[in-house]
């Protein structure tokens, strides 16, 4: 792979997506509905909740193709960079690709410009990526992410949800996405408090996912026999921290004493 050299007028600047386009590496959009190619794995429920010092993000582990379970242990919550995370619901393949590009975009910008994007800038960047994905969404490959991070300038956690057109909505308290999102949102709504601790907020997100799995066949619940737990992370002044499976197993035992294996 050669070092790309551009004339001044043609320089893509710190934009990695534009660099990919110039190198002819962007993915093509399908011509017809994707259902013609068979069922595509879809990821389901993700939750983000604000608490006093930051944001908790959580996602279940199931991907489904139609009525079949295609994966039991996919991950839908990722660090975007040190101070932010992204959670995805929708067509799994394009969603993973979008996360990978988004992570690279933030890192690329930081390296080329010498300083990281603001949290607002990162949220807008993701909005553009979702917007650019709209033609594929129209063919049945919708991706609807959540974005949350710690704003190092405001010293507070912030979270954003999106729609398929790239619409970006900042939420004050919590946001959910995916097929089980409605049920999860109800649980969060009933238990939410502005000054809750990180620990209590993780419990709340955990319960929201369990309830979503209870009501929605496309959402997977905790699976103690196989040792599959939701992906949960806190994002605060210390950055993105993913919770250990042992922590989640202990939490499950405490929250659902009758169910623990």
């Amino acid at each position: 792979m050669q070092i790309p050299v551009f004339s001044v007028a043609d320089d893509p600047g710190p934009d990695f997506a534009s660099l990919l386009r110039r190198q002819g590496l962007s993915a093509a959009v399908p011509d017809g509905p994707v259902s013609a190619a068979g069922a595509v794995p879809h990821g389901t429920t993700v939750v983000a909740i604000r608490y006093a010092d930051g944001v908790v993000m959580a996602g279940d582990r199931r991907a489904t193709s139609g009525n079949l379970i295609s994966h039991r242990s996919i991950e839908k919550v990722f660090p975007a960079d040190r101070w932010s995370g992204v959670a995805i619901a929708g067509a799994a393949g394009p969603a993973m690709e979008m996360v990978k590009l988004f992570q690279l975009q933030l890192e690329h910008y930081e390296k080329v410009e010498g300083q990281p994007l603001s949290l607002e800038g990162k949220a807008n960047q993701l909005s553009q990526m979702v917007r650019n994905h709209l033609p594929a969404a129209m063919q049945g490959l919708a991706v609807v992410p959540l974005f949350a991070g710690f704003d190092t300038r405001r010293r507070a956690g912030r979270l954003f949800q999106y729609d398929v057109t790239g619409g970006r909505y900042e939420e004050n308290d919590y946001a959910t996405s995916g097929s089980g999102g409605l049920h999860a949102a109800t649980v969060v709504k009933l238990g939410f408090g502005r000054d809750t601790s990180a620990d209590a907020t993780v419990d709340l997100a955990f319960q929201a996912l369990v309830t979503a799995a209870d009501e929605d066949s496309a959402t997977g619940g905790p699976d103690p026999t196989r040792g599959i737990w939701p992906v949960m992370a806190t994002i605060d002044a210390d950055g993105f921290t993913r919770l250990d499976d042992s922590d989640l197993a202990a939490r499950y035992g405490r929250l659902y004493p009758g169910a623990s294996a």
């Binding site: 792979m1 070092i3 790309p4 990695f16 590496l25 890192e107 690329h108 390296k111």
Partner: protein, 227 residues
């Protein structure tokens, strides 16, 4: 009909090399030393915003001396090449050697074919999994690549600085002693340099992914004070 004067190719190359060397000699020098903690890169640079040392990829750093706009453009091209390669293949496939060779191509091409050579010297450093496996590629304005072993010196005053580093650098130095040697060599016998005159960065061997980090002035002072 007027005939252009004949100029021997040796003379053309010599003139270009002299021109590039003069440009580079106007700037301050830079020292990189492989140590126990990783690769420490120390540049004399009073500006805290126009950087000479920066991150290219997970385990790779870039440093340049000479004309700022020219080496900064090379730095950005390197970030692009590394990120594209990591995106197309995998993060493990991005390595300093390939990047150094591509830089050499560009520098050599410009040196022989363009009106004006690039007035830069650059360093591509990669930190290895354990001490002794670090790679330091030193590239000259004409595309010459030098694979340096324990340390590299870039810039106009390189010979004198190299002698001073060689005289004082012990076997297997740690970060503090490597930095003291580098700063002492840059300063020379007649001057002393303080943290505000320096730009210091470390490719941290212990980091899991992105190893590059800048060392702030306060920490530089603390490292220089330990003995």
């Amino acid at each position: 009909m007027s005939m252009p004067f004949y100029v021997a190719p040796e003379q053309v190359m010599k003139d270009r090399a002299d021109y590039a060397r003069k440009g580079i000699a106007r700037g301050r020098s830079l020292v990189a030393v492989a140590c126990a903690e990783g690769v420490v890169i120390c540049a004399e640079n009073p500006s805290s915003t126009l950087r000479k040392v920066s991150e290219i990829y997970d385990r790779i750093a870039f440093a340049g001396v000479g004309k700022y706009n020219e080496f900064d453009q090379l730095r950005i091209s390197g970030v692009r090449a590394a990120d594209l390669k990591g995106f197309s293949f995998s993060r493990e496939d991005v390595e300093a050697r390939g990047l150094a060779n591509q830089y050499a191509q560009i520098l050599g091409q410009v040196f022989t074919h363009e009106m004006k050579p690039l007035e830069v010297e650059i360093l591509v450093a990669e930190v290895g999994p354990e001490a002794g496996t670090d790679q330091l590629f030193h590239l000259l304005y004409d595309g010459t690549v030098i694979d340096e072993a324990r340390f590299a010196v870039l810039g106009g005053d390189a010979e004198a600085v190299t002698e001073r580093v060689e005289a004082s650098l012990g076997e297997a130095p740690d970060l503090a002693s490597a930095l003291r040697v580098a700063v002492g060599a840059l300063a020379g016998p007649d001057r002393t340099l303080v943290a505000a005159d320096l730009e210091v960065a470390l490719l941290d061997r212990a980091s899991v992914r992105r190893c590059f980090r800048r060392i702030e002035d306060a920490d530089v002072s603390a490292l220089l004070a330990t003995s």
